[in-house]
Amino acid sequence: MPEIFTYGFMSRALIAGSIVAIIAPLIGIFLVLRRYSLIADTFSHISLASIAAALFFGWNPVLTTLILGAGASLGIEKLNRVRKIYSEAVLAIFLSGALAIASIFIGFGKGGNITNWLFGSILTVSMSDIWTMLIIGVIVVAVVKLFYKELLFISFDENSAQVSGLPVKFINRLLILLIALVISLAIPIVGILLISALITLPVITALQFRVSFIKTIVIAEIVSVFSVLSGIITSFYLDSSTGGTIVLIMIAIFLVSLPIKNLTKKRI
Protein backbone atom coordinates (compact mmCIF):
# COMPACT_ATOMS: atom_id res chain seq x y z
CA MET A 1 0.00 0.00 0.00
CA PRO A 2 1.40 3.44 -0.86
CA GLU A 3 2.62 5.36 2.15
CA ILE A 4 -0.13 7.92 1.79
CA PHE A 5 -2.93 5.49 2.71
CA THR A 6 -1.22 4.30 5.88
CA TYR A 7 -2.10 7.59 7.53
CA GLY A 8 -5.64 7.70 8.94
CA PHE A 9 -5.86 11.45 8.41
CA MET A 10 -5.12 11.02 4.70
CA SER A 11 -7.89 8.45 4.22
CA ARG A 12 -10.28 10.77 6.02
CA ALA A 13 -9.11 13.68 3.89
CA LEU A 14 -9.70 11.71 0.69
CA ILE A 15 -13.19 10.63 1.77
CA ALA A 16 -14.17 14.15 2.88
CA GLY A 17 -12.66 15.58 -0.29
CA SER A 18 -14.64 13.17 -2.46
CA ILE A 19 -17.93 14.07 -0.77
CA VAL A 20 -17.39 17.80 -1.25
CA ALA A 21 -16.02 17.32 -4.78
CA ILE A 22 -19.21 15.51 -5.82
CA ILE A 23 -21.60 18.02 -4.30
CA ALA A 24 -19.92 21.31 -5.23
CA PRO A 25 -20.58 21.25 -9.01
CA LEU A 26 -24.21 20.17 -8.50
CA ILE A 27 -24.87 23.51 -6.84
CA GLY A 28 -22.12 25.33 -8.72
CA ILE A 29 -23.80 24.93 -12.09
CA PHE A 30 -26.93 26.77 -10.96
CA LEU A 31 -24.82 29.32 -9.13
CA VAL A 32 -22.74 30.14 -12.21
CA LEU A 33 -25.62 30.14 -14.68
CA ARG A 34 -27.77 32.37 -12.50
CA ARG A 35 -24.86 34.74 -11.87
CA TYR A 36 -25.05 34.01 -8.16
CA SER A 37 -21.28 33.88 -7.67
CA LEU A 38 -21.42 36.83 -5.26
CA ILE A 39 -23.85 34.85 -3.14
CA ALA A 40 -21.18 32.17 -2.69
CA ASP A 41 -18.69 34.80 -1.53
CA THR A 42 -21.25 36.27 0.83
CA PHE A 43 -21.98 32.88 2.39
CA SER A 44 -18.30 32.17 2.83
CA HIS A 45 -17.97 35.40 4.84
CA ILE A 46 -21.08 34.54 6.84
CA SER A 47 -19.41 31.19 7.50
CA LEU A 48 -16.30 32.98 8.73
CA ALA A 49 -18.40 34.97 11.20
CA SER A 50 -20.21 31.79 12.28
CA ILE A 51 -16.95 29.95 12.86
CA ALA A 52 -15.40 32.85 14.76
CA ALA A 53 -18.51 33.00 16.94
CA ALA A 54 -18.50 29.23 17.42
CA LEU A 55 -14.84 29.23 18.48
CA PHE A 56 -15.55 32.11 20.87
CA PHE A 57 -18.55 30.45 22.52
CA GLY A 58 -17.18 26.93 22.24
CA TRP A 59 -19.89 25.67 19.87
CA ASN A 60 -19.48 23.10 17.07
CA PRO A 61 -18.20 25.19 14.10
CA VAL A 62 -19.81 23.08 11.33
CA LEU A 63 -23.25 23.03 12.95
CA THR A 64 -23.09 26.74 13.82
CA THR A 65 -22.18 27.55 10.22
CA LEU A 66 -25.02 25.42 8.94
CA ILE A 67 -27.64 27.04 11.14
CA LEU A 68 -26.47 30.64 10.73
CA GLY A 69 -25.91 30.13 6.99
CA ALA A 70 -29.43 28.81 6.53
CA GLY A 71 -30.84 31.71 8.54
CA ALA A 72 -28.87 34.27 6.54
CA SER A 73 -29.91 32.66 3.25
CA LEU A 74 -33.56 33.21 4.07
CA GLY A 75 -32.78 36.78 5.13
CA ILE A 76 -31.02 37.50 1.84
CA GLU A 77 -33.84 35.97 -0.16
CA LYS A 78 -36.41 38.05 1.69
CA LEU A 79 -34.48 41.31 1.29
CA ASN A 80 -34.02 40.50 -2.39
CA ARG A 81 -37.76 40.33 -2.84
CA VAL A 82 -38.14 43.83 -1.42
CA ARG A 83 -37.43 45.36 -4.79
CA LYS A 84 -36.42 48.72 -3.47
CA ILE A 85 -32.96 47.32 -2.62
CA TYR A 86 -30.61 46.09 -5.34
CA SER A 87 -29.71 42.46 -4.86
CA GLU A 88 -25.95 43.17 -5.06
CA ALA A 89 -26.36 45.79 -2.37
CA VAL A 90 -28.19 43.29 -0.17
CA LEU A 91 -25.31 40.85 -0.55
CA ALA A 92 -22.75 43.56 0.15
CA ILE A 93 -24.53 44.38 3.41
CA PHE A 94 -24.46 40.74 4.50
CA LEU A 95 -20.87 40.27 3.30
CA SER A 96 -19.42 43.28 5.11
CA GLY A 97 -21.64 42.74 8.16
CA ALA A 98 -20.41 39.16 8.47
CA LEU A 99 -16.79 40.23 8.06
CA ALA A 100 -17.30 42.90 10.73
CA ILE A 101 -18.72 40.35 13.18
CA ALA A 102 -15.91 37.92 12.38
CA SER A 103 -13.22 40.56 12.94
CA ILE A 104 -14.70 41.42 16.34
CA PHE A 105 -14.77 37.79 17.51
CA ILE A 106 -11.27 37.15 16.13
CA GLY A 107 -10.12 40.34 17.89
CA PHE A 108 -11.17 38.81 21.22
CA GLY A 109 -8.33 36.40 20.63
CA LYS A 110 -10.12 33.07 20.93
CA GLY A 111 -10.11 32.40 17.20
CA GLY A 112 -7.03 30.18 17.75
CA ASN A 113 -6.49 28.47 14.42
CA ILE A 114 -8.48 30.86 12.30
CA THR A 115 -6.01 30.37 9.41
CA ASN A 116 -7.28 26.78 9.19
CA TRP A 117 -10.70 28.16 8.41
CA LEU A 118 -9.35 30.73 5.99
CA PHE A 119 -7.31 28.30 3.91
CA GLY A 120 -8.80 24.93 4.80
CA SER A 121 -7.64 22.20 7.12
CA ILE A 122 -8.68 19.01 5.41
CA LEU A 123 -6.02 17.02 7.23
CA THR A 124 -7.70 17.69 10.56
CA VAL A 125 -11.12 16.38 9.45
CA SER A 126 -12.50 13.99 12.07
CA MET A 127 -14.68 10.93 11.60
CA SER A 128 -17.70 12.79 13.01
CA ASP A 129 -17.07 15.62 10.49
CA ILE A 130 -17.20 13.00 7.74
CA TRP A 131 -20.53 11.68 8.98
CA THR A 132 -21.97 15.21 9.04
CA MET A 133 -20.67 15.79 5.49
CA LEU A 134 -22.06 12.49 4.28
CA ILE A 135 -25.55 13.15 5.66
CA ILE A 136 -25.71 16.69 4.31
CA GLY A 137 -24.18 15.50 1.04
CA VAL A 138 -26.86 12.85 0.55
CA ILE A 139 -29.54 15.44 1.31
CA VAL A 140 -28.10 17.88 -1.26
CA VAL A 141 -27.85 15.22 -3.99
CA ALA A 142 -31.40 14.01 -3.27
CA VAL A 143 -32.87 17.52 -3.34
CA VAL A 144 -31.12 18.41 -6.62
CA LYS A 145 -32.32 15.14 -8.17
CA LEU A 146 -35.85 15.70 -6.91
CA PHE A 147 -36.10 19.26 -8.23
CA TYR A 148 -33.74 18.89 -11.19
CA LYS A 149 -36.29 19.83 -13.85
CA GLU A 150 -37.57 22.83 -11.91
CA LEU A 151 -34.02 24.06 -11.18
CA LEU A 152 -33.12 23.69 -14.86
CA PHE A 153 -36.20 25.46 -16.25
CA ILE A 154 -36.07 28.30 -13.71
CA SER A 155 -32.34 28.84 -14.30
CA PHE A 156 -32.85 28.94 -18.05
CA ASP A 157 -35.99 31.05 -18.24
CA GLU A 158 -37.55 32.11 -14.95
CA ASN A 159 -40.58 33.92 -16.39
CA SER A 160 -41.65 31.07 -18.65
CA ALA A 161 -41.15 28.63 -15.80
CA GLN A 162 -43.47 30.73 -13.65
CA VAL A 163 -46.09 30.93 -16.40
CA SER A 164 -45.98 27.11 -16.66
CA GLY A 165 -47.01 26.99 -13.01
CA LEU A 166 -43.66 25.96 -11.51
CA PRO A 167 -43.14 27.03 -7.86
CA VAL A 168 -40.44 29.59 -8.68
CA LYS A 169 -40.33 31.30 -5.29
CA PHE A 170 -39.98 28.01 -3.44
CA ILE A 171 -37.24 26.71 -5.76
CA ASN A 172 -35.26 29.95 -5.50
CA ARG A 173 -35.39 29.76 -1.72
CA LEU A 174 -34.37 26.12 -1.84
CA LEU A 175 -31.40 26.88 -4.10
CA ILE A 176 -30.07 29.60 -1.79
CA LEU A 177 -30.45 27.23 1.16
CA LEU A 178 -28.53 24.54 -0.74
CA ILE A 179 -25.74 27.02 -1.53
CA ALA A 180 -25.45 27.81 2.19
CA LEU A 181 -25.34 24.09 3.02
CA VAL A 182 -22.68 23.25 0.45
CA ILE A 183 -20.48 26.16 1.47
CA SER A 184 -20.58 25.20 5.12
CA LEU A 185 -19.61 21.68 4.03
CA ALA A 186 -16.76 22.76 1.79
CA ILE A 187 -15.04 25.07 4.27
CA PRO A 188 -12.85 22.36 5.87
CA ILE A 189 -11.57 21.34 2.45
CA VAL A 190 -10.34 24.58 0.89
CA GLY A 191 -11.17 27.22 3.48
CA ILE A 192 -13.36 30.28 3.27
CA LEU A 193 -11.22 32.24 0.82
CA LEU A 194 -11.10 29.56 -1.86
CA ILE A 195 -14.61 28.14 -1.60
CA SER A 196 -16.19 30.00 -4.48
CA ALA A 197 -13.32 28.79 -6.69
CA LEU A 198 -14.00 25.17 -5.70
CA ILE A 199 -17.68 25.55 -6.49
CA THR A 200 -17.46 27.52 -9.73
CA LEU A 201 -14.20 26.51 -11.49
CA PRO A 202 -15.16 22.94 -12.53
CA VAL A 203 -18.47 24.28 -13.86
CA ILE A 204 -16.83 27.09 -15.82
CA THR A 205 -14.45 24.50 -17.27
CA ALA A 206 -17.33 22.19 -18.23
CA LEU A 207 -19.15 25.10 -19.91
CA GLN A 208 -16.31 25.34 -22.46
CA PHE A 209 -17.38 21.99 -23.93
CA ARG A 210 -20.76 23.34 -25.08
CA VAL A 211 -22.70 20.15 -24.53
CA SER A 212 -26.13 19.39 -23.04
CA PHE A 213 -27.00 20.45 -19.50
CA ILE A 214 -26.72 16.95 -18.09
CA LYS A 215 -23.36 16.30 -19.83
CA THR A 216 -22.07 19.63 -18.52
CA ILE A 217 -22.81 18.43 -14.99
CA VAL A 218 -21.01 15.13 -15.66
CA ILE A 219 -17.89 16.90 -16.99
CA ALA A 220 -17.90 19.30 -14.02
CA GLU A 221 -18.13 16.32 -11.67
CA ILE A 222 -15.14 14.61 -13.30
CA VAL A 223 -13.05 17.80 -13.17
CA SER A 224 -14.06 18.42 -9.57
CA VAL A 225 -13.36 14.93 -8.21
CA PHE A 226 -10.09 14.66 -10.15
CA SER A 227 -8.87 18.08 -8.95
CA VAL A 228 -9.77 17.51 -5.31
CA LEU A 229 -8.28 14.01 -5.05
CA SER A 230 -5.13 14.81 -7.04
CA GLY A 231 -4.81 18.07 -5.08
CA ILE A 232 -4.93 16.25 -1.75
CA ILE A 233 -2.38 13.66 -2.88
CA THR A 234 -0.07 16.26 -4.49
CA SER A 235 -0.16 18.46 -1.42
CA PHE A 236 0.76 15.44 0.71
CA TYR A 237 3.94 14.84 -1.27
CA LEU A 238 4.81 18.50 -1.85
CA ASP A 239 3.86 19.44 1.70
CA SER A 240 1.84 22.33 0.21
CA SER A 241 -1.47 23.88 1.30
CA THR A 242 -4.23 21.46 0.25
CA GLY A 243 -6.85 24.07 -0.61
CA GLY A 244 -4.39 26.12 -2.64
CA THR A 245 -3.14 23.05 -4.50
CA ILE A 246 -6.68 21.94 -5.39
CA VAL A 247 -7.64 25.37 -6.71
CA LEU A 248 -4.42 25.70 -8.75
CA ILE A 249 -5.08 22.29 -10.36
CA MET A 250 -8.62 23.46 -11.18
CA ILE A 251 -7.27 26.63 -12.77
CA ALA A 252 -4.76 24.60 -14.78
CA ILE A 253 -7.54 22.34 -16.11
CA PHE A 254 -9.62 25.39 -16.93
CA LEU A 255 -6.76 26.91 -18.93
CA VAL A 256 -6.30 23.65 -20.84
CA SER A 257 -10.04 23.59 -21.60
CA LEU A 258 -10.07 27.10 -23.07
CA PRO A 259 -9.05 26.12 -26.64
CA ILE A 260 -11.94 23.62 -26.69
CA LYS A 261 -14.44 26.46 -26.98
CA ASN A 262 -12.73 27.73 -30.13
CA LEU A 263 -12.68 24.24 -31.62
CA THR A 264 -16.42 23.73 -31.09
CA LYS A 265 -17.14 27.19 -32.45
CA LYS A 266 -15.30 26.41 -35.67
CA ARG A 267 -17.22 23.21 -36.14
CA ILE A 268 -20.54 25.08 -35.99
Binding site: L33, L146, F147, K149, E150, L152, F153, S155, F156, D157, N159, S160, A161, Q162, V163, S164, G165, L166, P167, A206, L207, F209, R210, V211, S212, F213, I214, K215, T216, I268
Partner: protein, 236 residues
Protein backbone atom coordinates in the same frame (compact mmCIF):
# COMPACT_ATOMS: atom_id res chain seq x y z
CA UNK B 1 -62.28 28.80 -39.18
CA UNK B 2 -65.17 29.95 -37.05
CA UNK B 3 -64.30 31.94 -34.00
CA UNK B 4 -66.66 31.33 -31.12
CA UNK B 5 -67.17 34.86 -29.90
CA UNK B 6 -69.36 33.73 -27.04
CA UNK B 7 -66.53 31.85 -25.44
CA UNK B 8 -63.87 34.00 -23.80
CA UNK B 9 -60.55 32.60 -22.69
CA UNK B 10 -59.31 35.87 -21.23
CA UNK B 11 -61.54 38.58 -19.77
CA UNK B 12 -59.91 41.81 -18.68
CA UNK B 13 -62.11 44.32 -16.85
CA UNK B 14 -61.16 47.90 -15.85
CA UNK B 15 -57.50 47.00 -15.44
CA UNK B 16 -55.21 49.80 -14.26
CA UNK B 17 -51.56 49.65 -13.32
CA UNK B 18 -48.90 52.14 -12.30
CA UNK B 19 -45.20 51.96 -11.47
CA UNK B 20 -44.65 54.11 -8.39
CA UNK B 21 -47.09 56.87 -9.32
CA UNK B 22 -46.68 56.87 -13.09
CA UNK B 23 -49.76 55.33 -14.70
CA UNK B 24 -48.96 52.63 -17.26
CA UNK B 25 -52.41 51.19 -17.89
CA UNK B 26 -55.77 52.89 -17.39
CA UNK B 27 -59.10 51.06 -17.41
CA UNK B 28 -58.17 48.42 -19.95
CA UNK B 29 -61.07 46.23 -21.08
CA UNK B 30 -60.31 43.38 -23.42
CA UNK B 31 -61.73 39.95 -24.16
CA UNK B 32 -59.85 37.27 -25.99
CA UNK B 33 -62.00 34.59 -27.65
CA UNK B 34 -61.35 30.94 -28.36
CA UNK B 35 -59.47 30.62 -31.65
CA UNK B 36 -58.62 34.30 -31.81
CA UNK B 37 -55.43 35.56 -33.41
CA UNK B 38 -54.86 38.91 -31.77
CA UNK B 39 -51.99 41.34 -31.91
CA UNK B 40 -51.64 43.85 -29.10
CA UNK B 41 -49.69 46.76 -30.45
CA UNK B 42 -48.62 50.23 -29.40
CA UNK B 43 -45.64 52.53 -29.12
CA UNK B 44 -42.82 51.90 -26.68
CA UNK B 45 -44.14 52.72 -23.23
CA UNK B 46 -47.75 52.16 -24.26
CA UNK B 47 -48.03 49.47 -21.59
CA UNK B 48 -48.29 46.43 -23.87
CA UNK B 49 -45.57 44.45 -22.10
CA UNK B 50 -47.04 45.37 -18.73
CA UNK B 51 -50.44 44.16 -19.90
CA UNK B 52 -48.92 40.84 -20.96
CA UNK B 53 -47.09 40.42 -17.65
CA UNK B 54 -50.31 41.12 -15.76
CA UNK B 55 -52.25 38.55 -17.80
CA UNK B 56 -49.55 35.96 -17.13
CA UNK B 57 -49.43 36.67 -13.41
CA UNK B 58 -45.84 37.97 -13.56
CA UNK B 59 -46.94 41.29 -12.05
CA UNK B 60 -49.46 41.76 -9.24
CA UNK B 61 -52.85 43.20 -10.17
CA UNK B 62 -53.40 46.62 -8.56
CA UNK B 63 -56.84 47.53 -9.85
CA UNK B 64 -59.40 45.74 -12.00
CA UNK B 65 -59.82 42.10 -12.83
CA UNK B 66 -58.36 39.43 -15.10
CA UNK B 67 -60.15 36.12 -15.61
CA UNK B 68 -58.41 33.17 -17.26
CA UNK B 69 -60.80 30.49 -18.54
CA UNK B 70 -63.49 32.01 -16.33
CA UNK B 71 -61.39 31.89 -13.15
CA UNK B 72 -59.99 35.02 -11.46
CA UNK B 73 -56.23 35.09 -11.95
CA UNK B 74 -55.41 34.81 -8.25
CA UNK B 75 -57.23 31.48 -8.05
CA UNK B 76 -56.12 30.18 -11.43
CA UNK B 77 -54.09 26.96 -11.17
CA UNK B 78 -54.34 25.38 -14.61
CA UNK B 79 -51.26 27.07 -16.07
CA UNK B 80 -50.48 24.29 -18.51
CA UNK B 81 -53.38 25.52 -20.65
CA UNK B 82 -51.37 28.69 -21.23
CA UNK B 83 -48.04 28.93 -23.00
CA UNK B 84 -45.65 31.84 -23.16
CA UNK B 85 -42.87 32.64 -25.58
CA UNK B 86 -40.74 35.34 -23.98
CA UNK B 87 -38.91 38.11 -25.75
CA UNK B 88 -35.92 36.10 -26.87
CA UNK B 89 -33.10 38.61 -26.64
CA UNK B 90 -33.64 39.59 -23.04
CA UNK B 91 -34.52 36.20 -21.61
CA UNK B 92 -31.94 33.91 -23.05
CA UNK B 93 -28.36 33.39 -21.91
CA UNK B 94 -26.35 32.33 -24.95
CA UNK B 95 -23.80 30.51 -22.85
CA UNK B 96 -26.42 28.34 -21.18
CA UNK B 97 -25.41 24.73 -21.82
CA UNK B 98 -28.62 23.23 -23.08
CA UNK B 99 -29.64 21.30 -26.18
CA UNK B 100 -32.69 21.94 -28.33
CA UNK B 101 -34.43 18.81 -27.04
CA UNK B 102 -33.75 19.77 -23.42
CA UNK B 103 -35.36 23.18 -24.06
CA UNK B 104 -38.45 21.73 -25.73
CA UNK B 105 -38.92 19.16 -22.96
CA UNK B 106 -39.18 22.07 -20.49
CA UNK B 107 -42.56 22.74 -22.09
CA UNK B 108 -43.78 19.50 -20.49
CA UNK B 109 -42.54 20.29 -16.96
CA UNK B 110 -45.66 22.14 -15.86
CA UNK B 111 -47.85 19.18 -16.88
CA UNK B 112 -45.53 16.56 -15.36
CA UNK B 113 -45.77 18.16 -11.92
CA UNK B 114 -43.41 18.14 -8.94
CA UNK B 115 -41.35 15.10 -7.87
CA UNK B 116 -41.86 13.31 -11.21
CA UNK B 117 -39.50 12.75 -14.11
CA UNK B 118 -40.41 13.14 -17.78
CA UNK B 119 -41.72 9.87 -19.22
CA UNK B 120 -41.30 8.43 -22.69
CA UNK B 121 -44.61 9.99 -23.74
CA UNK B 122 -43.36 13.43 -22.62
CA UNK B 123 -40.29 12.95 -24.82
CA UNK B 124 -42.48 11.91 -27.74
CA UNK B 125 -44.67 15.00 -27.25
CA UNK B 126 -41.58 17.18 -27.23
CA UNK B 127 -40.21 15.51 -30.36
CA UNK B 128 -43.57 15.99 -32.10
CA UNK B 129 -43.62 19.67 -31.19
CA UNK B 130 -40.10 20.04 -32.55
CA UNK B 131 -41.14 18.38 -35.81
CA UNK B 132 -44.13 20.70 -36.02
CA UNK B 133 -41.75 23.65 -36.26
CA UNK B 134 -39.54 21.65 -38.65
CA UNK B 135 -36.60 21.65 -36.29
CA UNK B 136 -36.46 17.91 -35.60
CA UNK B 137 -33.00 17.47 -37.08
CA UNK B 138 -31.54 19.99 -34.63
CA UNK B 139 -32.66 18.11 -31.48
CA UNK B 140 -29.15 17.30 -30.25
CA UNK B 141 -27.69 20.73 -31.08
CA UNK B 142 -26.85 23.37 -28.53
CA UNK B 143 -29.54 26.05 -28.64
CA UNK B 144 -26.84 28.74 -28.80
CA UNK B 145 -25.50 27.26 -32.06
CA UNK B 146 -28.75 28.06 -33.94
CA UNK B 147 -29.71 31.22 -35.81
CA UNK B 148 -32.16 33.67 -34.27
CA UNK B 149 -35.05 32.42 -36.40
CA UNK B 150 -34.29 28.79 -35.55
CA UNK B 151 -34.09 29.59 -31.84
CA UNK B 152 -37.46 31.29 -32.05
CA UNK B 153 -38.95 28.13 -33.59
CA UNK B 154 -37.50 26.08 -30.74
CA UNK B 155 -39.18 28.35 -28.20
CA UNK B 156 -42.44 27.96 -30.10
CA UNK B 157 -41.96 24.18 -29.98
CA UNK B 158 -41.48 24.42 -26.22
CA UNK B 159 -44.76 26.33 -25.98
CA UNK B 160 -46.57 23.79 -28.20
CA UNK B 161 -45.16 20.83 -26.24
CA UNK B 162 -47.37 21.71 -23.29
CA UNK B 163 -50.54 21.26 -25.41
CA UNK B 164 -51.73 24.78 -24.63
CA UNK B 165 -55.05 26.32 -25.60
CA UNK B 166 -53.61 29.79 -25.84
CA UNK B 167 -50.10 31.00 -26.56
CA UNK B 168 -48.72 34.47 -25.78
CA UNK B 169 -45.71 35.76 -27.69
CA UNK B 170 -43.78 38.85 -26.61
CA UNK B 171 -42.13 40.69 -29.53
CA UNK B 172 -41.35 37.32 -31.08
CA UNK B 173 -39.40 38.50 -34.11
CA UNK B 174 -36.88 40.84 -32.50
CA UNK B 175 -33.55 40.28 -34.21
CA UNK B 176 -34.96 38.09 -36.97
CA UNK B 177 -34.56 38.95 -40.65
CA UNK B 178 -37.52 40.03 -42.76
CA UNK B 179 -37.97 36.82 -44.72
CA UNK B 180 -37.92 34.66 -41.59
CA UNK B 181 -40.47 37.01 -40.03
CA UNK B 182 -42.87 36.48 -42.91
CA UNK B 183 -42.49 32.70 -42.57
CA UNK B 184 -42.89 32.95 -38.84
CA UNK B 185 -46.19 34.83 -39.03
CA UNK B 186 -47.49 32.43 -41.68
CA UNK B 187 -46.54 29.57 -39.40
CA UNK B 188 -48.41 31.12 -36.45
CA UNK B 189 -51.47 31.57 -38.65
CA UNK B 190 -51.30 27.90 -39.64
CA UNK B 191 -51.07 26.87 -35.96
CA UNK B 192 -54.01 29.11 -35.22
CA UNK B 193 -56.12 27.55 -37.96
CA UNK B 194 -55.01 23.92 -37.92
CA UNK B 195 -54.72 23.37 -34.17
CA UNK B 196 -57.44 25.84 -33.16
CA UNK B 197 -54.78 27.46 -31.01
CA UNK B 198 -55.57 30.92 -29.70
CA UNK B 199 -52.62 33.20 -30.44
CA UNK B 200 -51.87 36.54 -28.79
CA UNK B 201 -48.91 38.53 -30.06
CA UNK B 202 -47.41 41.59 -28.46
CA UNK B 203 -45.61 43.50 -31.16
CA UNK B 204 -44.86 47.02 -32.30
CA UNK B 205 -44.60 46.03 -35.98
CA UNK B 206 -48.29 45.74 -36.75
CA UNK B 207 -47.97 46.52 -40.48
CA UNK B 208 -46.26 43.29 -41.32
CA UNK B 209 -48.56 41.17 -39.19
CA UNK B 210 -51.83 42.76 -40.27
CA UNK B 211 -52.28 40.36 -43.18
CA UNK B 212 -52.34 37.38 -40.82
CA UNK B 213 -54.17 38.39 -37.69
CA UNK B 214 -57.88 38.55 -36.97
CA UNK B 215 -57.84 41.35 -34.45
CA UNK B 216 -55.63 44.25 -33.58
CA UNK B 217 -55.81 45.90 -30.18
CA UNK B 218 -53.95 49.17 -30.12
CA UNK B 219 -52.77 50.21 -26.70
CA UNK B 220 -51.86 53.62 -25.37
CA UNK B 221 -52.39 53.22 -21.63
CA UNK B 222 -55.86 52.09 -22.54
CA UNK B 223 -57.24 50.19 -25.52
CA UNK B 224 -57.65 52.96 -28.10
CA UNK B 225 -58.67 50.72 -30.94
CA UNK B 226 -59.75 47.11 -31.20
CA UNK B 227 -60.70 45.96 -34.63
CA UNK B 228 -60.22 43.46 -37.33
CA UNK B 229 -57.77 44.86 -39.90
CA UNK B 230 -59.47 46.11 -43.04
CA UNK B 231 -57.46 43.79 -45.18
CA UNK B 232 -59.20 40.43 -45.05
CA UNK B 233 -57.07 37.37 -44.68
CA UNK B 234 -57.47 33.91 -46.08
CA UNK B 235 -59.85 31.43 -44.50
CA UNK B 236 -61.63 33.95 -42.35
Amino acid sequence: MIVDHKHNIIEITDLSFSYDKAPILKNVNLNIHVGDYLVITGENGSGKSTLLKLILGLLPIQKGQIKLFGTPLAEFKDWSRIAYVPQKVTNFDHNFPVTVEEVVLMGRYGRIGLFKNPTESDRIKAAEALNQVQMGQFAKQQISALSGGQQQRVFIARALASDPEIVFLDEPTTGIDKKSRREFYDFLQKMNQDLNLTVVLVSHEVNQIAANVMHVACLDQTIVYHQQPEKDHGGH
